[in-house]
Symmetry: C2
Subunit: 421 residues, 2 copies
């Protein structure tokens, strides 16, 4: 079964907004064995919306549209679809009552414009929206399914999960998308490809995507299969070969983020961590605390931007800063050791560098970052020069920092990271 | 002049990747007075790519495609366009030499597959790619312009800026998009709309978009105009009215981020700031240090997750934590005052709360955050309960925190924020 997604909304044709609803929908449709073959983004223009539906219906079994169901005159999806299918739009008394009730419950009168949201094309089934006033609609025409969903992500997602997924599942065929999500840190895309190309080329039925992001590469083998069990077995075999080839660089086979894997390693090993950051400005602490329950392993961190605070908060000797410079391997190590002792944590992380765009010299250029990890033996330190702008330098430094914590647990006795479950 | 954008690549039809090249292209095309009227996203399928071009060419003056110009068999844009236009694909010796040269310069032999990238449809002009091996192509057919660009953003952007923008400018008409970007913090979308609807409805030629994001609303009036000066005047008049209506809630009329406005206010007023964060985990420090040159106003911050570190790093009396609880107005104020005194900064920010999903009680529910600002008079404190998940609670808390800093400078003698330039 093939689906196309239409996103309606003039704001999606500006330089500021991109359609992200289709990511959720694609994931959900794939789970049901429905492949997304095309996406279209159209403005708030009745003719354009109608044409987009006409073209999509000529190709796909299911057409799902988001947006254009609001109460204003810019919201034209209902009208465009009714016109295309030659169906009348009628005010649905039950929907109207629901909308009025919704307004009443928050102590407000329904505005007249909201009555438009009760207009339903003949023969359409109404999908109740528990989070907003615009109901969804399900239509069928000439063997094709048309699903209209509201644009706000929370409303769209809730509506799809509660009222569309199951209904679609009964209509979808037996094929399913089976996939794996492996993630790798600490190597380049070309080095990775050299290692794994001999593996994935042996599986011509599996489509393996390699996606490179700063400081991380995702390897995603995917296969559409009627026999899900056989496909799972095939992918497990592939993943096993990838795992051997990638070794310690592979940090998850289950699509986890690096901070999730690190959090899990810390928890599994009953370890705690603290951070002393300079150029990353708190990004490592922020990433470590994104995870629910992070208070069990994260004790605290300092962002010691000034030299004085490097000494005051992490006991970096002022002489060391003076002799080696604030951006140096020695100061990174002193930050890591200092914060570890101050907070009595198992591990201490120290980061100092030049994120740019200013502050670089020929000896210590923009992008140079020293990252140190103290605890459990001699401190480890890495000095790297990252390419890109300030944001990219900071992000890559935080990736290496988290990856150093992960790798630490590969080499000490205890539970290895990325092996949960 | 109207343009459509086609993004080719099967990875753009997965749940993980969204086309972002079109945002850059839309901004650049708008500057040239070219409106983007539709976007299509298609997989690596020759028939689909061909059909997408056929449909776009039936509607638009310019069709720009990104992706599908690589060396592998998945890269089919060249073939699809040549087929659609009925033109032969020929190997271009100059392009081939350039690619071979590129490989030689990095000490490698060109792989045979890369020869595909030298295939050029009859009559196409080659647009040299200085950052990669895939050249861009410019074709014209029946009065329409077709531009094929590589998919990697850095290559696409450099190629467009250097070789497409000027060429398109000479073909585009005299109309330009004129726009403003106002941003507001501290009010709801409906309250905002109530204040400004009486203004924007008086300007029917201007399309005003209101975009709500967590803790921030953008108001963007846009107009396509042949007489740019008259349009600028009209928008300036509108912005003046919006400014009066929105008062202190308006933080920029130039599309700046909240951290940029705050950074500017700190710099203009020769003020410094330090932070003591709990539930936001360093997010406020991280946002304050995103701005180049932040070391001139940001002295440092602590992420004091544990009660002990709240006392050790920001001198919060343990009795206060015991009597009022770690999440309380009193502790937020003590964090703010403590960190300010410790670092000798002009302002101190203290944040404590429950980001969730765990840790809430009926008295202190998930989402409750206390935010305090000390310095220049009595400390200000706000206790708020934010909706949404952990990430959303943390983000909204950081928005309110930054906004409190901004508002501080509205009420003290000195330079007002958001009034630079």
């Amino acid at each position: 079964m093939k689906a196309e997604i239409i996103a309606a909304g003039s704001e999606l044709l500006t330089p500021d907004r991109v359609d992200t609803n289709s990511l959720f929908l694609t994931a959900e449709l794939n789970k049901l064995g429905i492949e997304v073959t095309r996406k279209a983004i159209v403005g708030d223009n009745r003719g354009d919306i109608r044409d987009a539906f006409a073209q999509a219906l000529a190709r796909a079994d299911v057409v799902i549209a988001t947006g254009g169901l609001g109460p204003t005159e810019d919201d034209l999806t209902r009208e465009a679809v009714a016109e295309l299918l030659g169906r009348k739009l009628e005010s649905n008394p039950a929907v109207l009552r629901t909308i009025q009730e919704r307004f009443r419950s928050i102590g407000r009168q329904m505005a007249d414009v909201n009555a438009r949201q009760a207009m339903v094309p003949e023969g359409a089934q109404v999908l109740e929206n528990l989070r907003g006033t615009a109901p969804g609609l399900w239509l069928e025409s000439e063997g094709r399914i048309i699903i209209l969903l509201p644009g706000p992500p929370k409303e769209m997602e809730a509506l799809f999960s509660r009222q569309v997924a199951e209904r679609l599942a009964t209509r979808a065929g037996g094929t399913r998308l089976v996939e794996r999500d492996l993630r790798v840190a600490g190597m380049t895309e070309s080095d990775l490809d050299q290692l794994i190309a001999p593996i994935y080329t042996k599986y011509p039925d599996v489509h393996t995507t390699i996606l490179a992001a700063p400081g991380e590469i995702q390897v995603q083998p995917r296969i559409w299969a009627a026999d899900v069990r056989a496909a799972e077995k095939l992918l497990d075999e592939m993943v096993e070969r990838f795992t051997i080839a990638l070794g310690d660089n592979l940090f998850t086979v289950k699509g986890e983020s690096l901070e999730e894997v690190v959090a899990d390693a810390l928890i599994q090993n009953h370890a705690t961590i603290s951070t002393a950051e300079s150029c990353t400005g708190g990004l490592v602490a922020e990433r470590l605390t994104r995870i629910p329950g992070s208070s069990s392993y994260f004790l605290g961190g300092v962002v010691s931007y000034s030299n004085e605070l490097k000494s005051a908060w992490a006991d970096v000797p002022p002489e060391l800063i003076q002799s080696r410079g604030a951006v140096s391997a020695e100061v990174a190590i002193a930050l890591a050791e200092g914060i570890r002792l101050r907070t009595c944590s198992t591990l201490g992380m120290g980061i100092t560098g030049i994120a740019g765009p200013g502050g670089g010299t020929s000896e210590k250029p923009v992008g140079l970052v020293h990252i140190a990890l103290a605890g459990g033996g001699a401190p480890r330190e890495r000095g790297l020069r990252f390419p890109g702008d300030r944001e990219r330098v900071r992000w890559q430094a935080s990736q290496v920092a988290l990856d150093m914590v992960r790798r630490h647990f590969l080499y000490v006795p205890g539970k290895r990271p990325g092996t949960k479950g």
